[in-house]
């Protein structure tokens, strides 16, 4: 029974990871590519404040995106779960953007946000602004794009939990004198926690490694870890350092998850 799974894991997980791990201890060749000697140099380079700032920025952007997704996603999931017969139609609308390429949708945001884009044109034409607002090519635009792209990953797990939430628990709280807000805080939110935690992980982890959104909406000014890795494998042709950054990021995420689970997080999952 376990043998096929083991083979699958070996071929699709362990082998590529092993290759990346091996690269990370090699040296960049004179014209790109790989060469000897084996070294730890790539990891030492990570301590450079330049790279640490990129890592810190990535964590900050991923955290802000997760928080905003939660702020927007929880009320939406609650609304969906309480929409009776229409809820599956509405849920389909939440998932609908996935039918289009993420790249195309990100370009659509560029058309909306750039100086001659729809938003600025309308505002200037309406006489509300003299000059277009700098909506594109900054950290705000990156966060906007990430929130837009990852909101469904927050909504779906929270919806799944809220949909199964026993309605009589909400009634019981009201029956015992709790107003709607108090019921939300004391009953609904604690019971939705597994969905919130799952949604937060599903948003936070991909956002940490995002490269397309910061590349397009950040205009190369808001560099995240994903962009660093990409540029090492492409423009810089420094595969060993790119591999080291990839592994370091992965190790950091796994370390964070392990600490979270050790501290009792697994009961939320």
């Amino acid at each position: 029974m376990l043998a096929p799974a083991a083979v699958w894991m070996a071929v699709f997980v362990a082998a590529p990871l092993g290759v990346v791990a091996a690269y990370s201890f090699l040296t960049r060749g004179p014209y790109g590519g790989l060469s000897e000697p084996w070294t730890l140099e790539n990891y030492v380079r990570l301590a450079d404040p330049l790279y640490l700032r990129i890592v810190a920025r990535s964590f900050r952007i991923a955290a802000v995106t997760t928080a905003l997704c939660l702020l927007l996603g929880f009320p939406l999931a609650l609304f969906l779960a309480r929409s009776g017969g229409r809820k599956h139609l509405l849920l389909a609308l939440v998932i609908l953007p996935f039918w289009t390429s993420y790249l195309v949708r990100t370009y659509a945001w560029m058309f909306l946000l750039r100086d001659t884009g729809l938003v600025n044109t309308l505002l200037v034409e309406a006489g509300l602004l003299e000059r277009p607002l700098p909506l594109l090519y900054n950290e705000g635009a990156v966060i906007l794009g990430l929130v837009y792209g990852h909101l469904p990953f927050m909504v779906l797990p929270i919806f799944a939990v809220l949909e199964r939430l026993d309605r009589s628990l909400v009634e019981a709280a009201a029956d015992l004198g709790a107003r709607p807000l108090e019921t939300l805080v004391r009953v609904v939110l604690p019971l939705a926690r597994p969905g919130i935690v799952a949604g937060a992980l599903l948003v936070f982890i991909p956002c940490l490694g995002a490269y397309l959104t910061p590349d397009l909406l950040g205009g190369g000014k808001t560099v995240m870890v994903g962009n660093l890795i990409q540029s090492q494998f492409t423009a810089a042709r420094d595969w060993p350092f790119g591999a080291a950054v990839s592994l370091a990021l992965m190790a950091l995420v796994m370390l964070g998850l392990t600490v979270f689970l050790r501290r009792g997080g697994e009961r939320f999952l």
Binding site: E171, A172, A173, D175, G177
Partner: protein
């Protein structure tokens, strides 16, 4: 004395379905009032109307003489023990019981401690709901509702989730608890034995209507409708008259006194331990059952007998 709870001409209509029809009733303070009826008769809807989870389509609900129609559930001083108990799974036993106590005063602390003792939950305070038994869950649900000192405690099929063996015991405990605390209980049940054994008053519901309200003996012995008669116990229909099996006697000779009687042929004698059921066929083919003591159970299949009953035991209907 003014009733603590009163419903006046309350109706609840859903699209294509009328759950409660022009229901009027008064619940005296301190009483144990049972709403009895088959599933789908509107008894649970009635309870939900009183709790405030549903709004009446027409009619008024009064608590202590104050109309509470427009009050939200959290504004009404009534509390519900749900059929599935609806205990908060993320809280402990104590957390559930003190949920409705807004302020953590010394008075509230004392009250929670008293309820934990009253419900024999000592030592279980810090357990999660998943870690206690069904009977304990019911006691937590009761304690949680009683903690808010409701004017009326509403209980939706409180015994149905329990093991059948536990039910009779818990039934008696519920009754003595109600007597001791003096809190008005409105209890919904489909079990007539349960209603008869613990209620001060029973309201029998059928198809959204309240067919009769009365003390247990009254609704059993003087049912106002055929539905009430047959829902509360078995009835033999003899010449358009209803007689309960235990009021039906049997003899080999025609009775001489002024009683109701009819000739019949014994079909079957069934020994049930504490009594004997004699099944007899009337001349028109109708089969009736006489529930008799072992002395009267000596009749055998094919015996020609007379069934008779006291006129006072005849069930007469006004409808």
């Amino acid at each position: 004395m003014e009733p603590v709870l009163e419903l006046r001409q309350v109706s609840k209509r859903y699209p294509g379905h009328e759950a409660v029809r022009e229901l009027s009733l008064q619940v005296p303070r301190g009483a144990l009032f049972s709403l009895l009826g088959p599933s789908g008769c509107g008894k649970t809807t009635t309870l939900r109307l009183v709790a405030g989870f549903e709004q009446p389509t027409t009619g008024d609900i009064y608590l202590n003489g104050v109309r509470i129609n427009s009050l939200k559930p959290y504004e009404r001083n009534v509390s519900t023990v749900f059929q599935n108990y609806a205990l908060f799974p993320h809280l402990t036993v104590r957390g559930n019981i003190e949920f409705g106590l807004r302020r953590r005063t010394a008075e509230a602390e004392r009250r929670v401690r008293e309820l934990i003792e009253l419900m024999h939950l000592e030592g279980k305070e810090d357990r999660r709901i998943s870690e206690i038994s069904g009977g304990e869950r019911q006691r937590v649900a009761l304690a949680r509702s009683l903690a808010v000192a409701p004017e009326v405690l509403l209980l939706d099929e409180p015994l149905s989730a329990l093991d059948p063996k536990l039910r009779k015991q818990v039934r008696a405990e519920l009754r003595s608890l109600q007597r001791r605390l003096g809190v008005t209980f409105v209890l919904v049940t489909h079990d007539q034995e349960e209603a008869l054994s613990i209620s001060d008053l029973i309201g029998v519901m059928n198809q959204g209507r309240l067919e009769q309200v009365g003390e247990p003996r009254e609704v059993y012995r003087r049912p106002r409708t055929r539905f009430v008669a047959s829902f509360l116990g078995a009835v033999n229909w003899v010449d358009g008259v209803g007689v309960r099996p235990e009021a039906t006697r049997i003899s080999s000779a025609p009775p001489t006194a002024d009683v109701g009687s009819i000739p019949a042929t014994v079909r079957e004698t069934i020994f049930l331990g504490n009594c004997i059921h004699v099944e007899a066929e009337l001349e028109d083919g109708e089969v009736v059952v006489a529930e008799v003591g072992w002395q009267d159970g000596r009749f055998a299949r094919g015996d020609r007998v007379y069934l008779w009953w006291d006129r006072a035991d005849e069930l007469r209907f006004t409808e």
